[in-house]
Subunit: 218 residues, 2 copies
DNA sequence: CTCTTTCACTTAACAGTGTTATTTTATTGT
DNA sequence: ACAATAAAATAACACTGTTAAGTGAAAGAG
């Protein structure tokens, strides 16, 4: 039989109560986060309001500040969820293909698919608040997502394999990112850029770029 | 001697007065427009406020509404000035080169130069309020600027000359626009995308694209 | 079981924003 | 000098994010 601590029952009760309260707090925090996410997705960046979130979740606006530092912090958490989803999709798409050039193609299309399927999130993450892209979370050092890193490594692999003309892999990666971002951004902006047109432009552009990146003796 | 009209002096005075008043009105309108433009350029899209414009120009906020329908109308006029400046720069750059492929290169660099030199305007015109791009002004039918048209025609000319692989000129144009917009947008977003890096990416990307667009037997 | 402290939450308020209806002021026409 | 007209200002509404102060209930200590 183990020795009984000094105040076994009381402390246990105390801790249980604390735990329960903490749990409830996290639950409300999650509820706010969820309400904010859906409200953001329907109303968009400009129409997103803290007060509406409070209304939706059934509390006064000031209560939000007990769980989030300010509007930006809440917005950042929404973006952060988008970043992990984005990262997963890019990663699985990249992992499915071994040939570096084909992998670049797959990454590009996964990128554009995310933008097409989550336009409001893409807008937040890469257009209105691209500063979030580099913002490090509490404690973490490196930013949440590193698409550019994956692309750069893949380009480098292609160069090593002789599939891509030698050069600065980082610059190639920048260019590929710019191409994808450009198509995604034009598609999302309310220009007469239909899904078909964007898709055609993407295939053409990525194709031309990857073709242009081939070694001279191709 | 010509016959005197019924009320020569009075009507002339009347007209003069009216003209003067109308002139003053246009002057104030212009003053508002100018103040708005500079204020917009310093404070950016999000920090741009009608009330600050009124303050700057020395009137109450409501007076602005006697000259502009609403904030959007004022913003549109600012954007519109940007569009004409942009159009001029693109046009002169395009006119300086005859070879279609070289002209595409020149247009691309003129595009990026404008974005680099007028980031706040570019942001308004092509990022935050790209809907202005298609909005037709009072009376005019077609939208203010048609970069895509120039690019498309140049691509078509390149195809006709056998310098560009046959295909859909519109899709090629879309792709080239996307590339430029992507680089400009990434550059403007506060990412660690220095001017040199953007320039290198631009040269590489446009180069690869134009190379990839060459006929097969190149 | 009572008292005190702690904590979640609300109320009230401030400083802004765009926008509208109403009222004052100045200018013009008769 | 007086009436019509146009320009500008006041006051107000409905919002926004955010902060300081107050309230009420639960938790901890004696």
């Amino acid at each position: 039989m183990p020795r009984t601590p000094r105040e076994p029952r009381e402390t246990r009760l105390r801790q249980g109560s604390r735990q329960r309260r903490e749990h409830e707090k996290q639950e409300l925090r999650q509820a706010i986060r969820d309400a904010a996410a859906t409200l953001f997705e329907t109303h968009g960046y400009e129409g997103f309001s803290l007060r509406q979130v409070a209304e939706e979740v059934g509390y006064t606006p000031t209560t939000i500040y007990l769980y989030f530092a300010d509007k930006d912090a809440l917005l950042f958490e929404i973006a952060d969820e988008g970043f992990v989803r984005f990262g997963e999709q890019i990663h699985t798409a990249a992992a499915a293909v071994s040939n570096p050039v084909e992998r670049l193609w797959a990454i590009g299309h996964a990128y554009l698919a995310f933008a097409e399927q989550n336009p409001v999130y893409y807008q937040l993450m890469f257009m209105q608040r691209s500063d979030f892209l580099l913002a490090k979370r509490e404690g973490e050092r490196r930013p949440r997502i590193d698409v550019l890193g994956i692309v750069r490594e893949t380009v480098q692999a292609g160069m090593d394999d002789g599939l891509i003309r030698p050069g600065d892999a980082a610059t190639f990666a920048d260019g590929l990112w710019a191409v994808c971002h450009g198509i995604a951004a034009l598609r999302i902006s309310k220009l007469p850029f239909t899904a078909e047109r964007a898709s055609a432009a993407a295939d053409m552009t990525l194709g031309a770029m990857l073709a242009g990146m081939r070694p001279a003796t191709g």
